[in-house]
């Protein structure tokens, strides 16, 4: 049983890391601020969610799971809002979205 949980945790953590890697590559490779924001916030939110799920499986108590969940929700809230604020400021400064 523990082995199964450990394997599941590893899979979730690795999947999370893949999303983080994707977000980071997007940040470096995407052409403008809007697409970069999209890559970074979306991929990182999913990546963090997967990691929190993986860590929750190893938690000793439900309280710890609750704290991990709370951290994820707060990061979701913060990253969505900050992405919006940065994009809005970029729009106001007249940065045009990238078109092929």
């Amino acid at each position: 049983m523990t082995l199964l949980i450990d394997i599941l945790t590893s899979l979730l953590l690795i999947a999370g890391a893949v999303f983080f890697l994707g977000g980071t590559i997007g940040l470096f490779r995407f052409p403008d601020v809007y697409t970069r924001l999209h890559a970074l916030t979306k991929a990182d939110n999913v990546g963090l969610g997967l990691m929190m799920a993986g860590l929750s499986l190893q938690a000793d108590s439900l309280a710890t799971v609750g704290k991990l969940l709370l951290i994820w929700l707060l990061v979701l809230l913060a990253s969505a809002s900050v992405a919006h604020l940065i994009a809005k400021t970029a729009r106001q400064r007249g940065i045009e979205p990238w078109k092929q």
Binding site: L74, S81, L85, K88
Partner: protein
């Protein structure tokens, strides 16, 4: 097990070099905005380093104050600089370059070799003072050794730290009134986000204050969260009534320090030394002092962000 140790070694080495690189980039970047962002990233990685060194208390303080609040202060200072002269802010160029670099290199080398020498001559697994700290933890009134040191064994240091914060604020206040801010339109998102975040920040501050007795946390970490809540309010342009900006504000700012000193002096009246808590009362006294300190630190940090003495009319 071997593989995990190796992974940790790789991670720590990477962390150390990234810190050095970020510090260098932050210092050498001619673009001040870039430098500030790098400094914030440096603070976050520094917090991670403290976690790796098993010092979660310092990690919390570093993340909240070193990266968060200092970053906000630096950004608002940059905004003021930009408002003053519209030209892009560039760091001043040094005139005598070779001599400057020579001096800089020698100074860095001296500091680095001094540090390396002291680290290498450290006894391995030296327990330091931790034996005495843990031996006397029963009488300190708290079970978190860090809080025991900060508020009990070395209460004097914390008292002086709080007065440094107060003096810093007085320094800013002596520079003049609150700068006139451009009317900012925070927009819907911030207006929704902030009523959600501020109660949460206050709750977490209370939690950190309470947890400080037995787990990482304490007045400075909790205070910095309150300060962050205040800064959020200031960012969206919420105005606090002018009737609170005079005496009430000053009382709140000095309350923590005043209570700290008052407790210390009151203990002297009962035949103790300054700040020598009787062990039966120590827990309650520490909590009382920390609660007052949290409030004052929070308001002081938010006032630092305000960048001037509130209520003072600015002469043009």
């Amino acid at each position: 097990m071997e593989a995990i140790t190796l992974l940790q070694l790789i991670f720590d080495t990477l962390l150390g070099f990234t810190l050095l690189w970020l510090a260098w980039q932050a210092l050498s970047s001619p673009d001040l905005f870039r430098a500030i962002v790098l400094f914030i990233a440096f603070g976050l990685l520094m917090a991670l380093t403290w976690v790796r060194l098993n010092a979660p208390d310092i990690a919390l303080a570093e993340a909240a104050i070193g990266a968060g609040l200092t970053g906000a202060l630096l950004l608002s200072a940059l905004a003021r600089l930009k408002a003053k002269n519209s030209a892009t802010i560039m760091t001043e160029q040094v005139k005598n370059k070779p001599l400057f670099w020579l001096l800089l290199t020698m100074l860095s080398l001296a500091v680095t070799s001094g540090l390396a020498f002291s680290v290498l001559t450290l006894q391995e697994n030296s327990p330091g003072l931790s034996i005495w700290v843990l031996e006397n933890i029963e009488t300190s009134g708290v079970s978190n050794p860090v809080t025991a040191v900060l508020l009990n064994y070395r209460g004097y240091d914390t008292l002086l730290e709080m007065s440094v914060l107060l003096v810093a604020l007085l320094g800013i206040w002596s520079l003049g009134g609150v700068p006139k801010r451009h009317d900012s339109f925070p927009g819907q998102i911030l207006n929704i986000l902030i009523p959600l975040l501020v109660p949460l920040l206050i709750m977490v501050a209370g939690y950190l204050l309470w947890a400080g007795a037995h787990a990482p946390g304490g007045a400075f970490q909790a205070g910095s969260l309150l300060g962050a809540a205040g800064i959020l309010f200031l960012l969206v342009g919420w105005q606090f009534g002018t009737q609170f900006m005079g005496l009430p504000l000053r009382i709140m700012i000095t309350f923590g320090l005043a209570l700290f000193i008052a407790v210390g002096v009151a203990l002297m009246l009962f035949g103790n030394q300054f700040l020598e808590y009787p062990s039966s009362l120590a827990g309650s006294l520490i909590f009382l002092i920390e609660a007052a300190a949290t409030l004052s630190i929070g308001i002081t940090l938010a006032a630092l962000f305000l960048g001037g003495r509130p209520g003072l009319r600015r002469h043009k």
